[in-house]
Subunit: 340 residues, 2 copies
Amino acid sequence: MNIYDISKLAGVSTATVSRVINGFDNVKPATRNKVLSVMASQGYTPNAFARGLGLNTMKSIGIMCADSSDMYLAKAVYFIERDLREAGYHCILTCTGYNRDSQRQALSSLMSQHVDCIILVGSTFIDKDNKNNKYIYDASSTVPIMMLNAALEHKGIYCVLCDDYTATQTATLDLIDSGRRDILYLFNSYSYSAEKKSSGYRSAFELRNMTCDERYLQFFNGSSQDIEGVCSFVNNLHEKGLNFDAVLASDDFLAVGALKYAIRKGIRVPAELSVIGYNNSILTNCSEPELSSIDNHLELLCQNLVKICIGTLSGESMPQKTVFGGELVHKKTTLRIEKE
Amino acid sequence: MNIYDISKLAGVSTATVSRVINGFDNVKPATRNKVLSVMASQGYTPNAFARGLGLNTMKSIGIMCADSSDMYLAKAVYFIERDLREAGYHCILTCTGYNRDSQRQALSSLMSQHVDCIILVGSTFIDKDNKNNKYIYDASSTVPIMMLNAALEHKGIYCVLCDDYTATQTATLDLIDSGRRDILYLFNSYSYSAEKKSSGYRSAFELRNMTCDERYLQFFNGSSQDIEGVCSFVNNLHEKGLNFDAVLASDDFLAVGALKYAIRKGIRVPAELSVIGYNNSILTNCSEPELSSIDNHLELLCQNLVKICIGTLSGESMPQKTVFGGELVHKKTTLRIEKE
């Protein structure tokens, strides 16, 4: 069944059928209805749109991300879109911001577009206390939900994440074992993965029978663009009497700000101060010396997420939770531990 | 006309109509065809998909960008998606890579999805010699094409860009007028906007009755992630006997690499060497001292592009070419010129 068959059955030219399909105005209502009726009765699917009309799927995937200009999230969207496109899907991207109401609305808008699956990029879409996650549970009864770097246990929800807890614990242990005692922990979010990181930091002290001093966990309440602000923030902590010989940060930009503080103060890195970031982004290569950072293997996570997404849509049974380990990448702001 | 009316006319339950609309399998073919015929004859549009079937538009916009993990392009996509979403459009994002065949294929794939408009983000989609641009001209006869940071003169093509030529000229003049004579120009692309920048660099020497030494235009053939590579590249130029007292770069990452070279060599910035980047991205704030850079007002460009897009789709007459000026933002790697 092609456009030629439809034109014969409807008794009009193929040009007219094409005009109807393409939604041009220059077709009489009666003719338009005749063509549409023939198309409907023959189950004819002229294009991707028509397939959405109850006959097949659009092969479209909704991607939600809080802020696609965030370097980390942008990379995730890039990897996910690339692999989905290769598999023949197209992606509808929605940037939701960090407000829960906007996120809820974005999800429902994607649902109304009848996407095959919705991918939540980043951990800002869920609440730790599980109070406001119903909108995701509800959606998962209609379409599969894939989550990157967050986890909810529920039918229809598939999660791929880095073990941020262990990665942060490992980095903290590395600092402790290299002789650091006063490790400032900088963070800028209370999201799902941010909480895992803080817990990992705390757990390291326990493992070494040390006490974690809560004054050393410091929340930076500013934009990820504001590296100068981080620098002042760290300087201020120092001036208020907080002494530290290491900085561990939940994001590279925080670590870059701390390193900037050290350079300006003439503090030798890593001899006097160790600094470790998170994400191993390009920011770590901009600073001099280059920043050690935790790599959470974003590309690997995204590739796996897409595999699970496609498998699920093909009716295969896929794992609901997939966890990868992170890796501390030593560059030039950490001391190497002498192996015995 | 609603789902209830359709169910009465087709003599089936609303649940059945709903099943047909949602593409569930548990409907007899004869019943399905009856419902589809009634829907077609009544011009009933149950949802966004159905509106695509020649009755209305999907209110969807295709966005093409070579690489959404590129920081600059990612920001552009973010601004464009944000403003389009506010105007009630959803965005289908396609990352094409830099290969022309893939770009051509991506464009045709978006066309087959019947998007209302296609936005080309970045200047890698067109050839300077206008030889391989036919695929864009062809598309523009079906849907409006919006171009960010590139320009083609053709009916149906709308361009919003920064005057990279004048911005680069201004920065070069600033360096010359602050006493610099040997200005290394680093670039990493031969795209439309890259060519404008190179020409702007050359033109500054002419304006000051100086000769532009072509050895000072140096192409870095590497990834934008490879800041260490840029550092070696610049060091290598120096070792081969090229002397320079300023570096102007077509992208911030190149300038960061050059600055890294200076810091390692103990060259004082800006006393002995001035450095200027392009894009005024977060990379300029990571380095110490912070990089001076050309800001091409990306958010403003994107806001205007979306306005023109929406205006065009509403049938308004919109400008086909909109050009904004760039701005040299002095931070800590340039000398201030004494005003007389």
